[in-house]
Point group: C2
Chain length 182, copies 2
Amino acid sequence: MIELPLEEVYKLIEPGPVVLVTTENNGVNNVMTMSWHMAVEFVPPLIACIIVPGDYSFNALTKNGECVIAVPTVELAEKTVDIGNCSGEDTDKFKKFGLTPVAAEKVKAPLISECFANFECRVEDTTLVEKFGLFILEVVKAWTDPDHTEKRTFHARGDGTFEVDGKILNLKERMVKWPECM
Amino acid sequence: MIELPLEEVYKLIEPGPVVLVTTENNGVNNVMTMSWHMAVEFVPPLIACIIVPGDYSFNALTKNGECVIAVPTVELAEKTVDIGNCSGEDTDKFKKFGLTPVAAEKVKAPLISECFANFECRVEDTTLVEKFGLFILEVVKAWTDPDHTEKRTFHARGDGTFEVDGKILNLKERMVKWPECM
């Protein structure tokens, strides 16, 4: 994996793909599946997400204030769904699903080698955690795999079906107000 | 348009499509384009979004605490991008882009007739508006157009290109932990 400039991070979150979230707690890695997230700021990149006490990852995230957001592409869709349908409470998901943890640089939670991109995150704001499970994360280091040729992500439709990225529309010439986003 | 049950709303937000947001201020309608949003709760449906003071809609939203989130499908992609590249400060966007405002039931902001789905929203929480421009909206009434045959939404990639929904993966049988989401 090579470093991804921090100003590129929002471009992978804004489309709204299903992502994986890794945490580390007392030397044990865990991973969950997440679709409720959004970009909050360009640089430093901030990401909001919903992780509630019913999620086994909640304790590790609140205790350590760190996680990794990993972006899977479509070849990992079935595995990603299965990861979201069991719990770290009784399952070593890295082992069960054959994921390869890679040491991150700035957080203890692991990167996932099989994912196209990985974002090391620290919790930046917990004001709305108690009310909504809403965390604000700051991405402190980002990585991408230049050899990962599959670029298509997938999006949860909330009913067990998922949209795979299809045709790309190039409307760059219409972005007259936002030249910095091109 | 017919009523969409509130428990169906998150299924249209969770995939992360580009949406339109309408507001009303002193009898004047406005509309903006938005990609930074996420589902926060199933029922009542809560949606978080980022709208900052630099957005002309910010004042109407903070003043009236109401808006409509409208979900465009792919035939509206170019128009949606153009809406995001001019300002209600000097443009009547409903007129300029040929959008048809329809009276909502519970808020003053208008529905958009050309959109597949419309969600009437009230601001539920403003705790993080000053720090991040983060609003929590509650959807109080939802609508869908049963005659709208195009169902494909599109997703912003943050660089003037957009992903159109492609292939649908049906992984319902793997959702063993979330039977209520099927």
